[in-house]
Amino acid sequence: MYLRSDERGPAVSNRLALRIAVFGGVALALFAVLFFRLWTLQVVNGEEYLAEANNNRIREYRVVAPRGDILDRDGEVLVDNRTSLALQLNPRKLPADDGERRAELTRLAALTNTTLPKVRETIDEELRLAPSAPVTLRRDVGRYLVYYLQENQDRFPGVEVRRVFVRDYPHGTLAAHLFGNVGEVSEDQLKEPRYRDLEPGDTVGQDGVEYQYDEVLRGRAGATRIQVDSLGRPTPNGQLKVVEPAPGNNLRLTIDSGLQEAGEAALAGTGLPGAYVAMDVRDGAILAMGSNPTFDPDVFTRPLTQSQVDELYRDPISSPLTNRAIAGAYPTGSTYKAITSVAALASGNVTPTEPIVDDGAFTLGGITFENAGGVAHGTISMQTALEVSSDVFYYTLGDRMNDGSALQDWSHKLGIGRETGIDLPGEQPGLLPTPAWRNQLYREGLTERPWSAGDNVNLAVGQGDLQADPLQMAVAYATIANGGTVPRPHVAMQVEDAAGRVLREIEPSRARQVRIDPEWRETILAGLHDAAQSGGGTSYSVFGGFPVPVAGKTGTAERPGHADQSWYVVLAPYPDPEIVVAVTFEEGGFGADTAAPAALEILSARFNKTAETVSGGASGIE
């Protein structure tokens, strides 16, 4: 103690002085502790506590933005939204008492047709994803349930019914494979840059156009931030900030609903698994595209039942979710002859008018390749070879081109064995057999023999190891028809706002340009036209009576383990085609039997003309 001498009181004994000094020391230490603690709390860690305080008082509610509509090329709505009532639970408002909580969850399980463990599981899972968001127990609850809950609110604390947006498909299954489905963004997806701004619980496109153009369609969720007190009650004037949700933009597709419907009807009519594509040959705009069997996209707006899961995912043969038009992998049969023609002409292995003898069989290295049905067509040039679908003619070209890689090179240029780059997820490249590929397999012991001339002979007529899908064939034919521009197929036309103003045109540039001499083109198209509409043509029986001139080729491919794959690829109108249609059926038999009639239905719809029945032609001879 710092005392002036005159301030000192009675002398304090030494013992007392010691005790008071210790007392003072303790006081000093305690104050030091308090000051130090205050310092760390406020100055060192203050920011952290401030964040926690704000976290305490601010509740953010996400306001979901409605997804944009998907329209067809004429503005017809293909996919829009409907509002659905969703049963949601705020787990924090559940009764604190274990028994009561259990009782309420049991009641909820009964109401939602599930079990208590499943309800708990759902809650745990959703809370792990989004700790602050309410848990959706069931979507699409009926009105009776809503009324019941309203009347018994006191028995269901924390339960609320909210309106949510659900995808709606006014045309049912139409173009189901194009749209794909939407679903909650997954934990893994949230890590991807494209989902940067999303939060658990948000809905994103999971397949098809919904996936590809998700950014266009999904819009931007809004938020209300509300200040609450310690009991979670909103405070007066506590609305801090509202960010209005921005609805997604509409996406207009190049799809023509009428054509799409006709195509799907044609596919469904056969009952066979198959696919078709109708594309504008000039710019690659997909006018229609379908795959059979199909599915009802609406099932994905509700929880799937076990039988639905089995049907959609567990059936490898019908595999309804697969879009066979872009992911089918089939040998193409004689439809490939157009491609072989281009390759042979371009590589100088044949001229447009060069005659080749077709005596019905072609022998190579002791193996005899025969025409279908063993028919001999005599001495013919390319145009006739296409008309009658002479295999021997093309076997010869395939053999000639085994010296060099002209067939593979041109197949590759025309888009075989590679992705077309269509704006849809899930496209498969297929397989273009090459000597290098086969020899590599042979070296690895995965096949019994190396590449031989026979492989090229097979490829020349679309047989053997070749795997392609209707879209690839459509692209190849379109390239021949338009004189060498390889189009990049696309289903999206433009982005529009809700009022229909065009925000962005989607015009993918051509994939590449290849040189196709006008003479080659004329020869090939003429051959294809004869095949479809001259008396000796392979599909004359189908297209002979069709008033619009077309150029089409049948294909009947042997597919190991299956009945023949039926194909038809057709360009119309001849000689200056605007549209290419490619159709294929698994186990459809002759091209003229299933695929060609389906293609005719599609073209009838496109040109609004029906075919008269004709007799004759060479169908059944592939």
């Binding site: 013992r15 308090l34 506590y49």
Partner: protein, 398 residues
């Protein structure tokens, strides 16, 4: 004007006639102590007026106005006590002690229950909590007993006697139940004994016994199924060790208080102090007022308050050494310990390093009994100071 003032000033040094200040006894009082006490009380009124605007619907100044009145009454009481010689309390020790025990006991009969605890009488103007005043009464009586019994019995007998005298009212308070105040009583008892010269060995034994007692109460008794503390008491005492363990219970309050204090950072959040405004911090006008200060005024405000308390304790300890007699030394020591303990426990609990015990922050926490009792205790300290000063000048009375 200047001449007049000079004429008036000069005679003062010569005349025997005391000035007004001198007549009021102000020069003999400890200025810094008085300043700290008044500053803290004024700050309390200021904080309450700013932070409790919405607490009582319709009367925004409810707490501030009442606290002002309590502080003014306390100031008057303090002044009155400062003007009389505290030594008289030594003679009145038996009466004081009896009054202390009886008033605490009466709470069991006439007191009203609040949150499961009977602590206070409902008087016409405010509810009076005898145990608050009891802290001061215990200091005055016990110091008397220690001085008086300094020559009677062996050292051990004396130690046991003091302990019994001090712990009897502590036990009564504990049974109300009011654990916090009971602890203050115990600390006062030990402090008076300590300053009174009880042997170090005895103090060490008592300390060891207390540690054992805590162990039994918190660990052993509950495990054998005979809990001594009520559930909430134990929870409050232990939850500070891990306040975020369960945000819904006792730890919640502590956590929220810590968040509030921390969120104030250096300069405070002023009216944007949401932790306190939105009810996250409970009891913000009483037990957790320090968290309110921390959030509203930041480190600068909280450190200022702590400094005022440091000043208060320092002056109290200084008065311990100044006292004209041993009774004053003991009384001042007891009061210093009482203030120090309350400040440390309350501030510590606001900052998350001490358990929640319901001990008010002297002069800052809202509450008539506490403010009044603290001012009276300051008054006793001032009286010791005044008596010491007068003694130096050979004037023991005015």
């Amino acid at each position: 004007m200047y001449a007049t003032r000079a004429r008036q000033a000069r005679p003062e040094t010569f005349t025997a006639r005391p000035s007004i200040a001198e007549r009021l006894g102000l020069p003999y009082m400890d200025g810094p102590l008085l300043f700290a006490a008044v500053a803290l009380a004024a700050f309390s009124v200021f904080v309450l007026s700013e932070a409790t605007l919405r607490d009582v619907p319709g009367s925004p100044r409810y707490f501030a106005d009442r606290q002002t009145i309590y502080a003014l009454i306390g100031l008057v009481g303090m002044y009155a006590l400062a003007r009389i010689d505290y030594s008289r309390f030594r003679e009145l020790r038996v009466g004081i002690y009896t009054f202390l025990c009886v008033s605490i006991s009466l709470v069991f009969v006439f007191g009203f229950a609040a949150r499961g605890s009977r602590r206070a009488f409902d008087l016409p103007f405010f509810s009076f909590q005898p145990s608050e005043l009891g802290k001061l009464l215990l200091v005055l009586a016990l110091a008397g007993f220690v001085i008086d019994g300094a020559r009677r019995g062996s050292a051990r007998q004396r130690t046991v006697r003091y302990l019994c005298l001090g712990f009897a009212p502590a036990a009564l308070v504990f049974l109300q139940p009011d654990l916090g105040t009971a602890l203050v009583f115990a600390v006062i008892t030990l402090a008076v004994m300590y300053v009174g010269g009880v042997r170090w060995t005895h103090l060490a034994t008592i300390g060891a016994a207390l540690v054992a007692l805590v162990a039994i109460v918190l660990v052993a008794a509950p495990t054998v199924g005979a809990p001594i503390l009520k559930g909430y008491q134990e929870e409050r005492l232990t939850s500070f060790l891990d306040p975020s363990a369960d945000p819904s219970d006792a730890g919640y309050q502590q956590n929220q208080a810590m968040i509030a204090s921390g969120a104030g950072r250096v300069t405070g959040r002023g009216d944007r102090a949401t932790q306190t405004r939105l009810d996250f911090v409970p009891e913000r006008h009483t037990d957790f007022i320090f968290a309110v200060i921390g959030e509203r005024y930041g480190f600068m405000g909280a450190a200022l308050v702590l400094s005022l308390y440091a000043l208060l304790i320092w002056r109290a300890l200084r008065i311990v050494t100044l006292s004209k007699n041993s009774y004053g030394t003991l009384v001042a020591g007891g009061i210093a310990a009482m203030l120090l303990f309350q400040v440390f426990v309350n501030v510590g609990m606001n900052l998350g390093i001490m358990p929640i015990t319901g001990i008010p922050l002297p002069l800052l926490s809202y509450g008539g009994s506490s403010v009044l009792a603290t001012f009276l205790a300051i008054g006793v300290l001032e009286s010791i100071h005044v008596q010491a000063r007068l003694g130096q000048r050979g004037r023991f009375a005015w």
